[in-house]
Amino acid sequence: MTASAFTIDGMRADIARIIGEDPAEVGDDDSLIDLGLDSIRVMTLIQRWGEQGVKLDFAQLAEKPTLAHWWSLARRQLAGNHPAG
């Protein structure tokens, strides 16, 4: 998989799988902690996404655990990796 395939819905699906929920249950602005995410699952996601070329920082994810915020961080990364892609 390449970074170009990295989408907000892909992130949503990864999150949903790791907390055993339906992706439809993961709203962009829902608190992912309320949905059952904890630090080890966040680390697992960071690892998985890192393998896809998107290196996210635990502290930054933790500060605001919503999909919308995470996607904005990921987008910034993707933009940095593929300038003017």
Binding site: G20, I40, A59, A62
Partner: protein
């Protein structure tokens, strides 16, 4: 946020601030990190990185202070941050020097009000070897914060070294974090979270730890580290994966189950550290944020582990969602304040990933030497980044766990984790590790011993033939040799045969104690019949039921005793004169080893007596063991005093005649008469005898018993109190042996030498006798580890055949032995645990358990706690109906000779040792405990108590109520829980808090009303209130000295004055320093302080130390007119105490205890120059337990010293100017007097406590006293001279003094 700004503490900080203030000398809140750096470190870049990162973190540079509205933190309290570089390359062993440096650093307590709370050092060990030491107080950082700091430092370093810019490691705002914290307080969210936790814990289970004792952090902790290895790691992660769980949740569940196993309770609460950063700016702020989530567990071992772990996982998720609410706050909500009232027990901390500390080109190795308080035990499991290996770090509180126990628990936990990960249900996982299980099995065969497979009959015949002319029996004036005994036995046997008794029959014997009784038993076993003792004094109905169930061929009795027997029973009347039987042939018939030897009935829990059938081979094992183990034989005289219906009598009857000893028969009623027993022992030179412990206690009270020599005394039948053991050895010359065994296993199955040197508490029942196995098992028949309570099961040769005619009951109690195929084990119904040496400790009956308000209570545990008070001869606790249908605990106590029962003190004592729900509601003092016919406690005969007047009296007067409210304020506890007689110090107060209380009292009632000393002399609500009322009523002038607690004689505790201790002031003339010692010695011993009269500046200076000593003796005699005077003195106080002891000895007074606390003779003082005021001020600082260097340089003035003392919160800082002048005068005067003093000689032994950390390089040694003291008993205390009356040193000194006082008191 600006420098100098005072900010409130976060909720997370408040608890730690309080903990540090409670125990200012405790360094355990230093969180440390040591990183070994190998490679070409750019020191300049590293220095810049560390300094910049720390200067970016305002939370780390705050200083704390006690503001008008509570504690506050002052931003920028410590200015610019520096990395301290320490070059150790010149040291002989740089690595060792680095370790020493770090150990010292970790061991140094930080004062948050003045010390920098973050310190950083780079230790240079070589050109490419560095150690970075970081020490940050837990008040300002937590584990996650440390990792943020590490990340920042590494990024800054790498940026400089490689030019790669930092990618977003900048910290978030501390101000925002504080704002978030403030916004949370009083918010709707807080209310919601509080409601969640309060509901979850409304009916919380009792928190039981793995170890017994109070879980309050010590100053250090033990750590045991164990790598799991890939096999265990894979087992754990594979199981978690298969179950669809995160592995940390699985490990947490299994750790919880492990804790529950050790606590012996399926329900427990563990604490789970929670980083508390999600959804908060704190995710990027190095600060103290973490919380502990209480995790409530109900471990169902039969449920699939996956299901259990999934439930735990859900609870953890919910808990994290509500995880901002502080667990300290929850404790307060639930009223769980104080060491024993815990919200959670062990901590389980899973670190599923670490954030590596990576400096470019450097190989770094990070270690965490301390991460905060260890109240009980903390299981930390760390995984490496990839989750391929895991490591256990087990931290324990040294007050509760030995290092060895910590190591055992660590190995056992990892084995448990591995096994549980592979088993469907927890029930299938043993508690013991495979190594421990193998060792356990080895222990079970340790008592194997070859014993002849024979019968009592054969052994009796053999001994009779071997020594026909030796004395065998003494019954009053009648003496029989072995030959005569054999002839009489034979005659009796013939009579039995004539009465129709045959091999295999039962012969009941209802005879008073006499030689006829002995002969009846001997004759019965010699003809292959089992004897059945009946007590004619027992209720007729009981005897009838026994006779009906046992169907004896004949009942041997006397004419008088036969009245108690059922009508129509076949009787053989002894003493009827019919001895004309045929003498030609031997009447004896050899039984076989598996024939029954005797049948003894015991009372069953249902009330119906059960007949226990014991075979020859079982009792033969027991008797041959005893004869050989205790070397009993020819020349010994064994006293027969136990009723035949009690199985202890069996060895009294038979042991003499199989070992060659002689039997001395006590007259029928003598066993209840201590004086008669003492006379018998003396008259017949008895060498071996038995007591039930409660009877031994009465025997020792008998003046005629004292000083007797009895080579071997055996006790069994009840728990042997440790105090009784010790008392025995002060009064009787002989050995004391504690034996244990139920009737169902041939008298005794275990033994313990309760020798003079034995210090065990409680006294164990010990180790198994020959061919016997003792199992301590849990409810699923799994062996429990040492230290864990289980039920005692017995196996081996001595087990009874069963209950006569009751196969079902037999099958229920004698069950298949799961450890040795084909054998049985007997379920005793006794609770026990194993000591580390393998000795078994009896802990009471399983049916001695009661449940109150749903909580399981072992009455024996409360009894043990009561006995620990040292004032009781006996104690029994029972659960009694309080008249409203619910049960309450009642303690029945018998005071020791010379002691009085004080319910308030006993309550305080017990409350300090058991959870509050186990503290009896009533204390009933009895002259003696009611005993049943066979000498055991008769619970039914205990009187009903009155509950009314026994609960703590609530504060009544307005003054009392206000004082109680101030206590509550000071101690942060609920006012409603404080009774009028509650003691400030017993509730958790200490001298710093006393100063705070004084301030509150003065704010309420006026500045000049009270002095600090009052809080030490009158520490209860009622007494303080009375002092306040008196002082307010008094119009006349009172001397300053009295007001400030500076009177010449002050009472420092409320202990027993019979063995009071008088403590002589050190150089400053004030004795408050002994307050800690006084608390430690209460209630057993009263403690008084003697203070210098010169504290009143108007008083004249004494002429000499000898004049002082005479004056002080006079003071003491006013409150303690007679008896020995026990003295202690620290420093100069020791010199004066010695002078007093010399004068007392010269006057012929009885010798008291003399304890010197690091005092040195005056000779060593004379070498020093005469003191100036400067020296006196220095001495004052030292008296306060501080060092002059802490004031900084410059001239010492009274003003500076007083300000310093007030700043550090020392009580001396509260002295008035007049009193301070008095103190300085006293210091100077004492200095002069000591120089002039010439010591006399005290002929006795003095206890000496040496401040072992001091005096290196000086000539000061205790031996300097040699010319002036008969003998010295020297105890090294790891303390500085200045800290010798501090809490740490007191904890070591007080028990030694208590023992010395107790010893003198007994003799």
């Amino acid at each position: 946020m600006t420098a100098g700004q005072a900010l409130p503490l976060t909720q997370a900080q408040e608890g730690l601030w309080f903990a540090q203030r409670l125990d200012p000398e405790n360094p355990i809140l230093n969180t440390g990190q040591i990183v070994t750096l190998r490679g070409p470190l750019d020191r300049a870049a590293f220095t810049a990185a560390v300094e910049q990162a720390l200067n970016e973190a305002p939370a780390l540079t705050v200083r704390f202070s006690e503001g008008p509205d509570g504690a506050e933190q002052i931003v920028g309290g410590h200015v610019f941050f520096r990395l301290n570089i320490v070059d150790l390359t010149g040291e002989a062993d740089p690595l060792r020097s680095a370790h020493d440096f770090i150990d010292r650093d970790m061991a140094r307590p930080r004062d948050p009000t003045c010390d920098p709370l973050a310190t950083e050092e780079l230790l240079i060990l070589g050109p490419e070897l560095h150690v970075w030491n970081q020490n940050i107080h837990h008040l300002v950082i937590d584990g996650y914060g440390t990792s943020l700091l590490n990340r920042r430092i590494a990024a800054l370093y790498n940026e400089t070294v490689t030019g790669v810019p930092d990618a977003g490691t900048a910290f978030g705002s501390f101000a925002e974090l504080l704002a978030e914290d403030a916004a949370y307080r009083g918010s709707e969210r807080e209310a919601k979270e509080r409601a969640y936790w309060n509901e979850l814990f409304a009916d919380r289970p009792q928190v039981i730890g793995i170890a017994q004792g109070e879980a309050t952090s010590a100053h250090t902790f033990h750590r045991f580290t164990l790598d799991f290895g890939p096999a265990v790691t894979r087992a754990v992660t594979a199981r978690a994966h298969a179950a669809g769980l995160a592995w940390p949740d699985l490990v947490t569940t299994i750790a919880g189950a492990f804790v529950a196993r050790h606590a012996g309770s399926a329900e427990t609460v563990i604490g789970v550290p929670h980083m508390g950063r999600f959804g908060s700016v704190a995710a990027r702020v190095p600060a103290m944020v973490m919380n502990v989530l209480p995790l409530r567990l109900a471990i169902d071992e039969d449920a699939p582990l996956d299901t259990l772990a999934a439930g735990v996982s859900r609870q953890l998720t919910r808990g994290r969602r509500f995880g901002r609410y502080r667990s300290e706050q929850l404790r307060r909500d639930l009223g769980l304040v104080g060491g024993e009232r815990r919200l959670y027990g062990p901590l389980v901390n899973i670190m599923p990933f670490d954030m590596p500390f990576a400096l470019h080109g450097i190989d770094s190795d990070l270690r965490v030497p301390g991460a905060g308080a260890v109240d009980d035990i903390t299981f930390t499991v760390r995984a490496d980044g990839a989750g391929e290996t895991m490591r256990l770090e087990l931290d324990t509180n040294p007050a509760l766990y030995s290092l060895e126990r910590t190591r055992q628990l660590g190995h056992r936990f990892v084995a448990f984790l591995e096994a549980a990960s592979g088993n469907e249900r927890l029930a299938d996982t043993p508690t013991l590790s495979p190594d421990e299980a193998a060792q356990w099995r080895g222990v079970q065969t340790a008592a194997d011993h070859a014993v002849e497979d024979t019968t009592l009959a054969a052994l009796l015949a053999r001994r009779a033939a071997a020594q026909p002319d030796a004395p065998a029996l003494i019954d009053g004036d009648v003496r029989l040799t072995y030959a005569e005994l054999e002839r009489e036995t034979s005659r009796f046997a013939r009579q039995l045969r004539l009465a129709g008794v045959r091999h295999g029959d039962v012969v009941a014997v209802a005879l008073p104690r006499s030689r006829h009784l002995v002969l009846a038993l001997l004759a019965s076993v010699r003809i292959g019949a089992a004897y059945l003792p009946l007590d004619p004094d027992h209720p007729r109905e009981r005897i009838a039921r026994i006779v009906e169930s046992a169907r004896p061929r004949v009942i041997v009795t006397t004419r008088e005793a036969s009245a108690a027997l059922p009508d129509g029973a076949p009787l053989l009347i002894v003493g009827g004169g019919d001895d004309s039987s045929d003498m030609s042939a031997s009447p004896f018939i050899d039984p076989t080893p598996t024939d029954a030897a005797y049948i003894i009935y015991t009372s069953g829990s249902t009330g119906a007596p059960k007949g226990v059938v014991i075979e020859h081979r079982a009792i033969v094992n027991r008797l041959l063991w005893m004869g050989e183990h205790y070397r009993i034989g020819v020349g010994d005289r064994i006293l027969l005093k136990t009723p035949a219906t009690f199985d202890v009598s069996v060895w009294e009857f038979f042991l003499p005649f199989i070992t060659g000893a002689a039997l001395v028969i006590a007259p029928p009623e003598a066993h209840k008469d201590p004086q008669a027993l003492a006379r018998l022992v003396r008259a017949h030179a008895v060498t071996t005898m038995h007591f039930v412990p409660s009877m031994l206690a009465l025997f020792l009270d008998e003046p005629q018993a004292r000083g007797l020599s009895i080579p071997r005394v055996f006790v069994s039948g009840e728990e042997l109190p440790a105090d009784l053991r010790d008392r025995f050895h002060t009064l009787i010359d002989g050995e004391l042996h504690n034996l244990y065994g139920p009737t169902e296993a041939a008298v005794d199955v275990s033994y313990w030498p309760a020798s003079r040197a034995d210090r065990s508490r409680p006294v164990p029942i010990g180790h198994p006798v020959w061919n016997t196995r003792l199992y301590v098992l849990d409810a699923r028949l799994r062996p429990v580890p040492a230290g864990v309570t289980g039920e005692l099961y017995l196996a081996g040769r001595q087990l009874a055949r069963g209950y006569l005619g009751q196969p079902e009951l037999t099958a229920e109690r004698f069950v298949p032995d799961p450890f040795f195929a084909g054998e049985r084990m007997y379920r005793t119904g006794d609770l026990a645990r194993l000591n580390d040496d393998g000795a078994v400790v009896y802990l009471g009956r399983t049916d001695h358990q009661v449940k109150l308000r749903g909580l399981r209570i072992e009455l024996g545990e409360i009894e043990t706690a009561l006995m620990g008070a040292g004032t009781l001869a006996q104690a029994v606790v029972d659960a009694r109906d309080d008249g409203t249908g619910s049960k309450r605990l009642v303690a029945y106590v018998v005071a020791k000779e010379g002691s009085a029962v004080d319910p308030a003190e006993l309550r305080a004592h017990v409350a300090s040792r058991v959870p509050d729900y186990m503290v009896p509601s009533a204390f009933v003092a009895l002259d003696r405990l009611p005993l049943s016919a066979n000498g055991k406690l008769d619970r039914k005969a205990l009187p009903a108590p009155s509950f009314a007047a026994t609960l703590g009296r609530p504060p009544e007067t307005e003054t009392e109520r206000r004082v109680a409210a101030l206590f509550a304020d000071c101690l942060r506890i609920e006012t409603a829980t404080i009774a009028a007689d509650d003691d400030f110090f017993a509730l958790g107060g200490h001298s710093l808090l006393a100063a705070k209380l004084l301030k509150l009292l003065r704010d309420t009632w006026g500045q000049d009303l009270l002095g600090l000393g009052v809080i030490f002399t009158d520490p209860t609500v009622a007494r303080l209130a009375a002092r306040i009322d008196t002082a307010r009523a008094a119009t006349g002038a009172r001397s300053v000295a009295d007001d400030e607690g500076l009177a010449p004689l002050i009472r420092l505790n409320n202990g027993d004055d019979a063995s009071a201790l008088f403590c002589i002031h050190p150089a400053g003339g004030i004795s408050w320093c002994y307050a800690g010692l006084a608390r430690a010695l209460a209630p057993g011993h009263g403690v008084y302080g003697i203070q210098a009269r010169g504290l009143d500046a108007a008083a004249a200076e004494p002429e000499s130390i000898d004049a002082l000593a005479a004056d002080y003796i006079g003071l003491i005699r006013q409150v303690h007119p007679r008896g020995p005077i026990h003295l202690a003195g620290w420093s100069v106080g020791g010199i004066i105490a010695h002078a007093m002891a010399v004068q007392l000895a010269e006057a012929g007074a009885p010798t008291g205890m003399l304890a010197l606390l690091d005092a040195y003779p005056s000779d060593s003082w004379r070498e020093q120059t005469d003191p100036s005021e400067d020296v006196a001020l220095k001495a004052l600082v030292q008296i306060a337990g501080s060092d002059v260097s802490e004031l900084g340089g410059g001239e010492l003035t009274r003003e500076r010293v007083m300000r310093f003392l007030r700043d550090i919160g020392n009580p001396l800082g509260l002295l008035s100017d007049a009193a301070l002048t008095g103190v300085l005068n006293v210091v100077a005067a004492n200095n002069r007097l000591v120089r002039r003093h010439r010591h006399g000689r005290f002929p006795g032994t003095a206890l000496y406590f040496r401040a072992a950390l001091d005096h290196a390089g000086t000539s000061l040694t205790p031996q300097l006293w040699a010319p002036y003291i008969g003998a010295l008993d020297i105890h090294d205390v790891p303390s500085l001279h200045a800290h010798l009356t501090g809490s740490e040193a007191t904890a070591l000194i007080a028990p030694v003094i208590a023992r010395a006082l107790r010893d003198r008191h007994i003799i």
